[in-house]
Amino acid sequence: MVLALTATGIVIVALLGELLAPRIEERVERFRAGRRRLPETADVDPGRDRRAEARARLLLKSCVNDEEWAMYRDLGFIRVWSHGTGRTTAYLIYPHKPILAYVPQTGRLLSEHCVEFPDETRPYGSARLPDSDDVLAKWMALTGDERRLLASANMHLPGRQIDPRQVKRDLWRLRQWERERGRAGAVAGDGGVPAF
């Protein structure tokens, strides 16, 4: 009788041990973690990306045309005309999104050109350029050597990454924006910017 009870007790203790052991282990880990010294955070600078972006915006502004800078500031993208095909094709440059080719006269979307500017050395721990630097890199590569950039990119049909409805909205916003600028320019007497 005693032997049977003892055996039953041992089984119960073993089963409870199986159930409780992970919880106990977790509690112990939590306790240890709570007492552990946090790693030094002197090299983590939460404002670094923000400062990098601020510098990048200044650099972008100093390189692109005034109209393009105002477009980026107000709308969040830049339109660049294709060099090789007259004004029959244009591109929309968004930060960290594919370059979108379209027909300005009709608004028809042609293609998405996926391109990145990875820094293989990664000396600062991040693989991404600041947003405005990404836009500037695309702008420089497009205006400087459109063919080479497009040859480097992966081309896809429109709609793969950028929602065509968003692009339609952006093109509509761009037309409104250019009309406003045109009107403001006419009032100021400088002829304004033609709307496409």
């Binding site: 200044l58 500017f117 820094d119 000396p123 991040s126 420089m140 080479r148 480097s152 992966n154």
Partner: protein, 78 residues
């Protein structure tokens, strides 16, 4: 321009001073060797519009260029 850091001044000098030009040439080559592209912001004489001129060698940089911008070489993205 560098990921996570933005614009970084790499070198500066006067191309009319031989020693400084030598320094600029060496730095230009070093940047291209490390996989960067070089571009010079210029203004088109006819249209007056700003654009970039890509430079594959130091000789392609206009002598009156105020700056050369290096940025990571483009590659196909997803």
């Amino acid at each position: 321009m560098r990921p996570g850091h933005g614009e970084v001044l790499i070198a500066e000098g006067d191309v009319d001073v031989a020693a400084e030009e030598e320094l600029l040439v060496a730095e230009f080559a070093r940047q291209l060797d490390s996989g960067m592209w070089a571009a010079v912001p210029v203004t088109d004489a006819r249209s007056g519009r700003r654009e970039a001129q890509m430079a594959r060698s130091f000789e392609e940089v206009p002598r009156d260029a105020e700056r050369v911008i290096f940025f990571p070489r483009a590659s196909g993205g997803r």
